[in-house]
């Protein structure tokens, strides 16, 4: 990879970290409401996988921890922040919030709150790609906890039987809220569960973006070549709580948190780039400053200054707002 790209990737991850931390602050200021799930600590997974995909072309779908996935896919960060602020300029016009960011202009097909719900939606997006004979694929990011839903098993089976072009990315951060994986899940290594569906699968370090990209490239090439679904498991860890309301200390040992903090994906990558002479500490400092300024003076400013949705528009978007009267009625319009 070219040095310029490496620097860009590092900057992206620094940006995502700062974006999420800024969300934390805005939540504390009560500018952001509802449930807020931050991605800090897991950046290498979405960044690495989506760096390898064709963003804007391939379909991407995920759960509620969706800001970074949306932005890396191509959703403007300003609009994502405005969505969190519940503004009309938001990605989902303020109707979705943090957990429901959508941007169909780049084929980012949403964040969903129901654990396990996106599995079949992803397979359906893949079915559409196959049906239309495009070279697109669908990529589904979900957590380890989601794999205990029925939709996981049902969807893996159908995706395999129908050879759908879908990549499932399991972000195994080892906890489903406060339940450690071995307390809920008989087979802790998630990739092993794919034996039951005859889907190729592998497990990798999710903290090292280079490893993520290598694994993702292989999987994506295979899916795009029409060889059916693929399942990638990345071992990762979230630095913050599940959402804003849990205290990790009640369910995660301090030593474990410390061990993983040392494996911070930003640190691993910046250390590597420094060692290789691609970047110096001063450059990183400058990057951080630049990112901070951009988020404050452009992104947050845009969200703050945008208008709230109009209450008159409460019923907008429930159904198609401009339906063809031939299909809808009233009855007198029957052909």
């Amino acid at each position: 990879m070219k040095a310029a790209d490496q620097k860009r990737l590092l900057r992206e991850m620094i940006f995502y970290r700062r974006f999420e931390e800024r969300c934390f602050e805005a939540y504390m200021e009560r500018k952001i409401g509802g449930f807020l799930h931050l991605y800090s600590g897991q950046e290498a997974v979405a960044t690495g996988v989506l760096e390898t995909a064709r963003c804007g072309h391939d379909y991407v779908i995920t759960g509620y921890r969706d800001h970074v996935h949306a932005i890396k896919t191509g959703a403007p960060a300003r609009e994502v922040m405005a969505e969190l602020y519940g503004k009309e300029t938001g990605s989902s016009r303020g109707r979705g919030g943090s957990m429901h960011v959508f941007d169909p202009t780049v084929n980012f097909m949403g964040g969903y709150a129901l654990v396990g719900e996106p599995f079949p939606l992803a397979a359906g997006l893949a079915l559409a790609c196959k049906h239309k004979k495009t070279d697109q694929i669908a990529i589904c990011f979900l957590g380890d906890g989601a794999n205990n839903q029925g939709t996981f098993h049902e969807t893996m089976n159908m995706a395999a039987v129908w050879h759908l072009p879908v990549l499932f990315v399991c972000e195994n951060n080892q906890y489903a809220i406060g339940t450690r994986i071995d307390r809920s899940t008989a087979v802790v290594d998630q990739y092993k569960r794919m034996c039951a569906y005859n889907i190729p699968a592998s497990q990798h370090d999710g903290q090292d973006i280079d490893i993520v990209m290598t694994a993702a490239k292989k999987a994506i090439d295979q899916v795009r070549a029409g060889k059916g679904p693929y399942f990638l498991e990345f071992l990762t860890y979230r630095l913050r709580g599940h959402s804003m309301s849990d205290k990790t200390i009640t369910y995660r040992p301090k030593e474990e948190e410390q061990k993983w903090a040392e494996r911070d994906p930003l640190k691993i990558y910046s250390d590597r780039l420094k060692k290789a002479g691609v970047i110096a500490d001063a450059d990183i400092k400058a990057m951080e400053k630049e990112v901070q300024d951009e988020i404050e003076n452009d992104i947050v400013k845009f969200a703050e200054e945008s208008a709230d949705p109009r209450v008159e528009d409460l019923y907008k978007y429930v159904l198609d707002d401009n339906p063809d009267p031939r299909w809808i009625g009233p009855l007198q319009n029957a052909i």
């Binding site: 379909y59 779908i61 938001g90 990605s91 989902s92 016009r93 303020g94 109707r95 979705g96 429901h100 959508f102 941007d103 169909p104 097909m109 949403g110 969903y112 709150a113 129901l114 719900e117 599995f119 079949p120 939606l121 992803a122 397979a123 359906g124 997006l125 893949a126 079915l127 559409a128 790609c129 049906h131 239309k132 669908a138 029925g150 939709t151 049902e154 969807t155 089976n157 159908m158 039987v161 129908w162 907008k316 978007y317 429930v318 159904l319 198609d320 707002d321 339906p323 063809d324 009267p325 031939r326 299909w327 809808i328 009625g329 009233p330 009855l331 007198q332 319009n333 029957a334 052909i335």
Partner: protein
């Protein structure tokens, strides 16, 4: 004009829509090789192939979800759920995804799926094969819910449902698949909104939907012999509801009864009576009556099942009650 059975009318709609748009697909259990539990997709697998007429495993939540996902990317799936009882397994994806994606995305993503399913009691199918659930879908914002009473609507509304950009739930009925009706030979559509007066009358409005329209029509014939002129109104669409036609009819007859195979409390009739009270309370000359199923799991024994489910007699008696004759 050709006389078609209800199931044949559904098959015709499928065939025409599959021929019209290559993005229309059909999914469901045994819809392909077998041609559908009620034959509604028979012959289509042979004609359109397994890529478009997809036999699914028994995974209602996820194959419905796959249909929804495909619809988000421009495919228009017609999903058959073998029985509305099994639609309960797909409620997550129908209610949490299909019904809400347009709204949650600020109108940027739509889910143009059609879900067809028979909902109603047949003959001693017992509690787990006799669910109705119309009232449940009716209370879910973001869905359209239609209930074709005969072959004409079954064909014309299904075609409209396929073309419409919203998720549409089409509730059929096990006891209606063999009903016959004349259909035009040329292509036609029937809209997804609008109640229909299917019999004119002046003394009482009998409101039904799905199978209960036929109960109302039979009851109206008996009432006529008693010198009572009953108007019969088929709701056709439960969501969105055509309150205007209901109001106009009640303002003319001043009396109203709602017949449904769904249970009360919180039945479809509860909602209709509430709208009558809100929209034309002062037009009423008598207390409204709801005729509905008993609030029990549907029993197996024939006598018990009969007692649990409304029939023509129940509608007739209910109407006499509204008229103050009993």
């Amino acid at each position: 004009m050709a006389e078609l059975m209800y199931w044949e009318a559904i098959r015709r709609a499928h065939d025409e829509e599959l021929a019209n748009d290559p993005n229309v697909i059909v999914m469901g259990e045994d819809v392909g090789v077998v041609g559908g539990t009620y034959k509604a997709t028979s012959g289509l697998y042979q004609k359109y192939g397994e890529q478009r007429i997809i036999d699914t495993p028994i995974s209602e939540n996820s194959f419905t979800g796959i249909g929804i996902g495909a619809s988000m990317a421009g495919v228009r799936p017609i999903i058959e759920i073998m029985s509305i009882n099994f639609a309960l397994l797909a409620l997550d994806t129908l209610v949490n995804a299909a019904a809400k994606i347009r709204y949650m995305s600020g109108g940027r993503v739509s889910c143009p799926i059609v879900m067809r399913t028979p909902g109603g009691t047949a003959h001693q199918l017992a509690a787990q094969h006799s669910a109705r659930l119309a009232r449940m879908f009716m209370s879910t914002a973001g869905l359209r819910v239609v209930t074709p009473r005969g072959p004409l609507d079954a064909c014309g509304m299904l075609k409209s449902a396929v073309r419409c950009n919203d998720p549409v739930i089409v509730i059929e009925h096990e006891r209606m698949y063999n009903l016959k009706e004349e259909l035009p030979d040329h292509e036609f559509f029937r809209p997804l909104e609008g109640a229909e007066i299917v019999r004119r009358g002046t003394d009482i409005t009998l409101i039904g939907y799905n199978y209960s329209v036929h109960l109302c029509l039979e009851a109206a014939k008996r009432l006529e012999k008693d010198g009572i002129s009953a108007e019969v109104l088929d709701l056709r669409a439960l969501k969105p509801l055509d309150r205007e036609t209901i109001r106009r009819s009640v303002e003319k007859t001043h009396r109203v009864l709602v017949a449904e195979e769904d249970e009360a409390p919180v039945g479809v009739g509860s909602e209709i009576i509430a709208t009558v009270i809100e929209d034309c309370f002062f037009a009423l000359d008598a207390q409204p009556v709801r005729v509905h199923a008993a609030d029990v799991p549907v029993p197996y024994a024939a006598a018990l099942e009969h007692a649990a489910i409304p029939d023509v007699e129940d509608v007739y008696k209910g109407a006499l009650k509204v008229m103050g004759k009993i």
